[in-house]
């Protein structure tokens, strides 16, 4: 290779690198400055001590994690542990319910005429374009004392007389299912649309019972959609703030509320930051687990994470 050729090539590499820097840098720097640094700061706050005005102070300590585990001035109390377990339970329950509703809906859309499908998908998605606060407020209207739903629940003896269906854990579950249903329908629909019906036909020809045919021929093919949907539902559900705050009341509090409260009313930033770290760990463990499951079951590459 001649010298000039080398020079041209290296100049080419330099300008390519410069191009990369100019195109990518503004955004990368933006995200680093306005999200990565704040997150690192928040993690640091978790290891500081709570000052008299709720501001983080030196010295470094693990006090906030002790508090998160329930140790306070008056000894140990299970409050925070309950909140954590409730968050896990609500996430699990609402994800399972969302899957149960979304499966038939996603399948049903694929059985309809092609020209209707985009409209049906839009019909499922449109409610989620409305602000979350308004949607949750709609459920407050529906579940309040004196509404037909609350009256029916009273008549069945499910709730005490003159009470509403909210605030309650039931209302939170309902709100979560309502909120996240579209996030499961969309990826499942995408999976159903690509479904290879020959496999299902083969299973039926071999006299497989419907359940067996579903399990061996349909379910594995929709798995990538199911995993993507689970990521889209379970991770934000675990950190949900608005729904438990409005529909849950004191006994329906989730981790998101515990964290948020430390930055508002009761002002204990280190404790809130410790809760946020817990949420981050849950997020990344969840993402990692889904990827592993996806890979093991062979559909991993299609999972959009």
């Amino acid at each position: 290779m001649t010298e000039t050729n080398m020079a041209v090539r290296s100049r080419g590499v330099v300008s390519e690198t410069r191009h990369l820097l100019f195109s990518v840098m503004p955004g990368a720097v933006w995200i680093i400055v306005f999200l990565v640094l704040p997150s690192i700061y928040l993690m640091a706050v978790a290891f500081m001590t709570n000052g008299p005005y709720g501001q983080p102070q030196m010295p470094l300590s693990l006090e906030s994690f002790r508090q998160l585990a329930g140790f306070g001035f008056l000894g140990w109390s299970p409050g925070n542990l309950y909140t954590l377990l409730r968050s896990l339970w609500q996430t699990l329950l609402s994800t399972v319910l969302v899957v149960i509703v979304a499966y038939p809906i996603a399948y049903y859309i694929t059985t309809c005429r092609e020209k209707w499908r985009p409209i049906m998908l839009l019909a499922v998605v449109v409610p989620s374009w409305t602000n979350q606060v308004i949607r949750t407020f709609g459920w407050m209207n529906l579940l309040a004392p004196g509404t037909p739903l609350s009256d029916a629940a009273q008549a069945l003896g499910l709730i005490a007389p003159n009470m509403g269906l909210y605030p309650s854990n039931f209302a939170v579950t309902l709100g979560l299912v309502y909120n996240f249903l579209p996030f499961m329908v969309l990826p499942l629909y995408a999976a159903f649309e690509k479904l290879d019906t020959a496999q299902v036909q083969a299973a039926q020809d071999l006299y497989a019972a419907p359940v067996r045919a579903f399990w061996h021929a349909v379910f594995p093919q929709t798995l990538p959609g199911l995993l993507a949907g689970t990521v889209l539902v379970a991770i934000p559900a675990f950190g949900m703030y608005v729904i438990p705050e409005l529909l849950g009341g004191g006994k329906g509090m989730m981790l998101g509320n515990l964290v948020a409260n430390q930055f508002a009313g009761s002002a204990n930033w280190p404790l809130g930051a410790a809760g946020a770290i817990l949420m981050l760990i849950a997020t990344f463990v969840g993402l990692y687990a889904m990827r592993r499951i996806g890979k093991r079951l062979g559909g991993g590459e299609e999972v959009v994470i």
Partner: protein, 265 residues
């Protein structure tokens, strides 16, 4: 025979689910026209809650805040996100793992963690330097941060879908990168840019948690105002603002449907 029963069952289930999805919104709309302030009984039609809205300065200022926030943040995110999307495409053969992680971070981070870390960070910076006072400015920064990834991914996926030889042809046709951008890149990306802008706008209007934690005392948006009103006690006035916002979404839905249809023909 059996198949038909299944299909009927599914149709019924579909309509039950659709009712479930729209019922809360319909109730809000219905009670916004309620003559009395009861949340349980509809006593008659009236527009009194809407009249009250028009006289409420807080709501009007919240409306303008929402609009300014959504437009400004979407424009900034469009510019920055578009550059990243293009950079990701041009250099897709390099190892850009760090960039992918960076771009997915705002998407996977739980809203509440996103909001409070920015809030804690902004407050600390403000205390030490006087910069970044909580208000519309900090909200715009926060919104741009969660909009950038979506713009970048939309632009990137559009570019990947194009024939690579087109870029070679454009290189031969137009001498300067600027001309190439104006005559080739921007026209080809136009549909992607429009949908990225609308998605950013929707994300901004849809957001509550991140706005709530990065807002200042003067910069309440409509969702923040509604939140405050709900916390003070349910008032039928909330139904009226909420109905107007639902109406805006419905119009957006119809427009997107029409736009989608046009795109296919």
């Amino acid at each position: 025979m059996k198949k038909r029963t299944l299909q009927r069952g599914l149709t019924a289930f579909w309509w039950v689910t659709i009712t479930f999805l729209y019922l809360p919104l319909l109730v809000v709309m219905l009670f916004s026209f309620n003559a009395s302030n009861s949340a349980a009984n509809f006593t008659g039609f009236s527009l009194r809650w809407y009249e009250r809205l028009m006289g409420n300065e807080q709501i009007i200022s919240a409306f303008w805040n929402s609009l300014v926030l959504a437009i400004v943040s979407s424009v900034v995110a469009l510019a920055i996100g578009c550059l990243i999307g293009y950079g990701m495409y041009r250099h897709r053969h390099r190892k850009l793992g760090w960039l992918i992680v960076l771009i997915y971070l705002p998407i996977v981070l739980p809203d509440i963690v996103f909001g409070i870390s920015e809030m804690a960070f902004f407050v600390s910076i403000h205390r030490h330097t006087g910069l970044l006072q909580p208000g519309l400015g900090t909200m715009i920064i926060a919104h741009v941060t969660f909009q950038i990834p979506f713009v970048a991914l939309i632009v990137y996926s559009r570019l990947v879908g194009l024939d690579a030889t087109l870029f070679e042809a454009a290189k031969d046709l137009y001498a300067t990168p600027f001309k190439r951008a104006v005559h080739f890149l921007i026209p080809t990306l136009k549909p992607a840019l429009i949908s990225a802008f609308f998605l950013s706008f929707t994300l901004s209007v849809d957001d509550f948690v991140i706005s709530f934690f990065t807002a200042g005392p003067e910069s309440a948006t409509l969702p923040i105002y509604i939140w405050g009103a709900i916390k003070k006690g349910v008032s039928p006035e909330i139904n009226a603002i909420a109905t107007l916002m639902i109406g805006a979404v419905a119009i957006a839905a119809v427009l997107s449907l029409m736009f989608n249809r046009q795109g296919r023909h």
